[in-house]
Amino acid sequence: MSAVETLRYLGDGRDLKDKDLPGGLSEKDLLELFRRLVHLRTFDERAVALQRQGRIGTYPLYWGEEGTQAGPLYACRDDDWVFPSYRQCAVGTLRGVPIATILGWVRGYNGPSGFYDPAEHRVGPICVPIGTHLPHAVGVAWAAKIKGQDTASLAWFGDGATSEGDFHEALNFASVFKTATVFFCTNNQWAISTPISRQTGARAIVDKAVAYGIHGVRVDGFDPVACWKATRDALERGRAGQGPTLIEAFCYRLGAHGTADDPKLYRDEGEVAKWRPLEPVGRMRGYLERQGLIDEATIEAFAAEAKDKIAQGIKDMEAVGELDEAILFTNVYASEMPWTFTEGLEELRASKAAQRAGS
C-alpha cells in the first residue's frame, strides 16, 4: 500500500531539510509560536517536578507534544472553542486560563472559585473519559451554525481515543451536519501500554476520514508549523461550509503515560531515543536559528518569562487555603441546592466538628 503523505515544514538540522513555510505566518508569528512552545514546555517540566515533590497529584505529562497543542491553537480564531483531553491540560493557559487553576486541577483542589468557565475562554474542561468530548465539540460548532455564526471548534484526542464509539459518532455527526469542527488526533503511538498496532488495523488514522467522507490530513506531530497549517486550512474549509477535518499528528509519546506510569515495563527505550531528537521545541528553535530569526537573548527572555509566569502560578495555587467542605455541594447544580445537599452538608459539618472536639 502507498506510504501515507505527511505534511512537514521544519527540518531537524540533519537529514530532514527545512521547507518553505506556508503563507500566513510572519516572523512575528513564528516567534510567538515558539514563545508558546517554551511556555508549555516549561509548565510541563515544572509540573513533573511538583509531582515528584508531592505538591500536586498524578500528572499527565506531554513532553514533546507542545507543537500539537500550540500549533493548532494558534490557527484558531479567538472565538473558536477548543476541547482538550487530560493530555492537553495546560493548553488553556494560552487562552488566559490561570496557571494556578490548571495546577489546582492536578492537585485536585481548585479553591472556592472552582474551575474556570469554559465559555469565558472558549476552552472546554479538561476531559478525562476518553473520546467523550468529541461530540461536545461537534455540538458547539453545530450550535454556531444554527445561530448563523461561523465559530468553529477543535478537539484534541489520542490514537487510543479513535477506538471509542464516541469518536465514530462524533465524526459521523460532524460530517452529516457539516459542522466546522477540527478533530485533532495526536497519534503518539501509545495508549498507556497499548501500541497503535493494537488500536487499529488501518494503514493510518488519517484514513478514517474516508469513512465519513470528510477531509483528512496527516502531519508531522513534532512540527508545530505543520500542525498550524493543517488546522488553519481545516478551519477555513469548515467556515466555508465544507464540514469537518480529521488531522492526524503523527509523533511519539516521548515521556511516560503519566507520572504514575513506568514505560520500561512495556516498551523499548531505544525506540524513544530514536524519536527524541525530533521533539518540537528544540526543533523550532533550531529552525529559527538556522533562519537567523532568533538570538540567544530572545530565547533567554522567553525562557525567563515562562519560568516567572509558572513560578507565580505555583505561588497562586499554593496560596489557595484549606477548602470549606461546602465545596462538595455548592457547584453540583446551577439551580438551588436540593434538601439532600443541605442535610448532607449538615451531617458532614457535625461529624467534622465532633472529630475536632474528640481529638
Partner: protein
C-alpha cells in the same frame, strides 16, 4: 380552550417554548419528518424548520453528546430518546458529562438539556421497548429526574424543564400518552419551576398514603376507589412528579397524617425508586407508622415478552393486595 391528551400537551409545550425562545431545538431519531414514533413532535418541522427540528443519525451517545455541546454554546436542546431501553448507549454521556458539567466548571456552565424518554410497558411492544430505567438516573448525582402523569403536568413540567438550568431527565409514561384529556392553558400556572420538585395529591384520603408516579398513578387511584367501596377505607394517592430530588416534605407529611404508606412503581423492585421512598418513610416517620410501608412494584426480571406483560405490571389487584397488607398489619 380544547382538551388535550399528554402527547398533544407535550407537543404544545415544545411548540410554545420554540416559538418564544429560539435557543430551543429538538433533536432525535425520526422526530422531524415523521414527528416522532409517538407523534409528540408532529408538525414542528413545518413550523420551525430543519435547523431546529432535527432528525439525527442513529446514535444515542452522539445525540446526547452533541446536545451537551449545543448547550455549552447557549442553545437549549431537547433530546428525544425513541424508547426507554435505547437510552443505555447514551448512558456515559449522561453520567460523566450532562450530570457533571456544572460541577466540573465550578457551577459556571451547566449542561442545560432536557432528555425526554418515553418509558414503561403496557403498550404491547417488542423487547426493549418497555423498560423503566428512571431509578438509574436518580442515583446519578447532578441530574434532575421528573415524571408527569397528567396532560397539564406534562405541559407545565416540560416548559419548566426547558427553562431549568440543570439537565433534566424527563420520563414520559408512554402507556398513558393518550389515556385522558385535560384543559391545558398555553401558559403554566406559575413561572417558577417548583413543579419540578413537588409532589401532587392525585386522590384524597386519610387511611393510607400511596406514593407513586407515572402510569401506576391512575391504577393506584382505581385501587383506592375500589378499596373505598369494598372496605370503606380512603387511600390518599400521591403523584411524586419529581423523582430526584424527592419531595421529602410531602412524603413525611402524607405518611404522618395517614400513619400507613405504600409505594408503587412499575420498575423492578430491587434498587427501584420505591426503596428510596420506603427508606425515607421509615427513617423519618417510624414513630408515626402503624405498619411498615410496603412496596408493590415490577419484579426483578427483564420486562417480559408482550403476551406476558400483564403478569409483570403492577395491577389494580396487586396494588389493592399491597394496601390490604399495610392496612391489616
Amino acid at each position: 380552550m380544547t382538551e388535550l391528551n399528554m402527547v398533544e400537551a407535550l407537543n404544545g409545550a415544545i411548540t410554545h417554548a420554540m416559538a418564544k425562545d429560539d435557543r430551543v431545538v429538538i433533536m432525535g431519531e425520526d422526530v422531524a419528518r415523521t414527528g416522532g414514533v409517538f407523534r409528540v413532535t408532529a408538525g414542528l418541522l413545518d413550523k420551525f424548520g430543519e435547523a431546529r427540528v432535527i432528525d439525527t443519525p442513529l446514535a444515542e451517545s452522539g445525540i446526547i453528546g452533541a446536545a451537551i455541546g449545543m448547550s455549552l454554546y447557549g442553545l437549549r436542546p431537547i433530546v428525544e430518546i425513541q424508547f426507554d431501553a435505547f437510552v443505555y448507549p447514551g448512558f456515559e454521556q449522561i453520567v460523566v458529562h450532562a450530570a457533571r458539567y456544572a460541577w466540573r466548571t465550578g457551577g459556571k456552565l451547566p449542561a442545560s438539556i432536557v432528555i425526554r424518554i418515553p418509558f414503561g410497558g403496557g403498550v404491547r411492544a417488542p423487547e426493549l421497548h418497555s423498560d423503566s430505567p428512571e431509578a438509574l438516573f436518580c442515583h446519578v448525582p447532578g441530574l434532575k429526574v421528573v415524571c408527569p402523569t397528567t396532560p397539564k403536568d406534562a405541559h407545565d413540567m416540560l416548559l419548566a424543564a426547558i427553562e431549568h438550568p440543570d439537565p433534566v431527565v424527563f420520563m414520559e409514561p408512554k402507556r398513558i400518552y393518550r389515556a385522558g384529556r385535560q384543559e391545558v392553558p398555553d401558559d403554566p400556572d406559575s413561572d417558577d419551576d417548583s413543579i419540578l420538585a413537588t409532589a401532587r395529591t392525585a386522590r384524597e384520603g386519610s387511611d393510607l398514603a400511596i406514593f407513586t408516579y407515572g402510569a401506576t398513578v391512575p391504577l393506584s387511584v382505581q385501587a383506592a376507589d375500589s378499596l373505598a367501596t369494598q372496605r370503606g377505607v380512603q387511600a390518599r394517592v400521591i403523584d411524586l412528579r419529581s423523582l430526584y430530588p424527592l419531595d421529602v416534605g410531602a412524603i413525611e407529611d402524607h405518611t404522618r397524617s395517614c400513619g400507613r404508606a405504600l409505594v408503587v412503581h412499575e420498575a423492578p423492585r430491587s434498587g427501584g425508586l420505591g426503596a428510596e421512598v420506603s427508606s425515607l418513610i421509615h427513617e423519618r416517620c417510624m414513630l408515626d407508622l402503624d405498619a411498615p410501608a410496603l412496596r408493590v412494584t415490577g419484579y426483578d426480571v427483564p420486562f417480559p415478552q408482550l403476551a406476558n406483560e400483564d403478569d409483570y405490571l403492577p395491577s389494580v389487584e396487586r396494588i389493592k393486595a399491597g394496601a390490604q397488607r399495610v392496612l391489616d398489619f
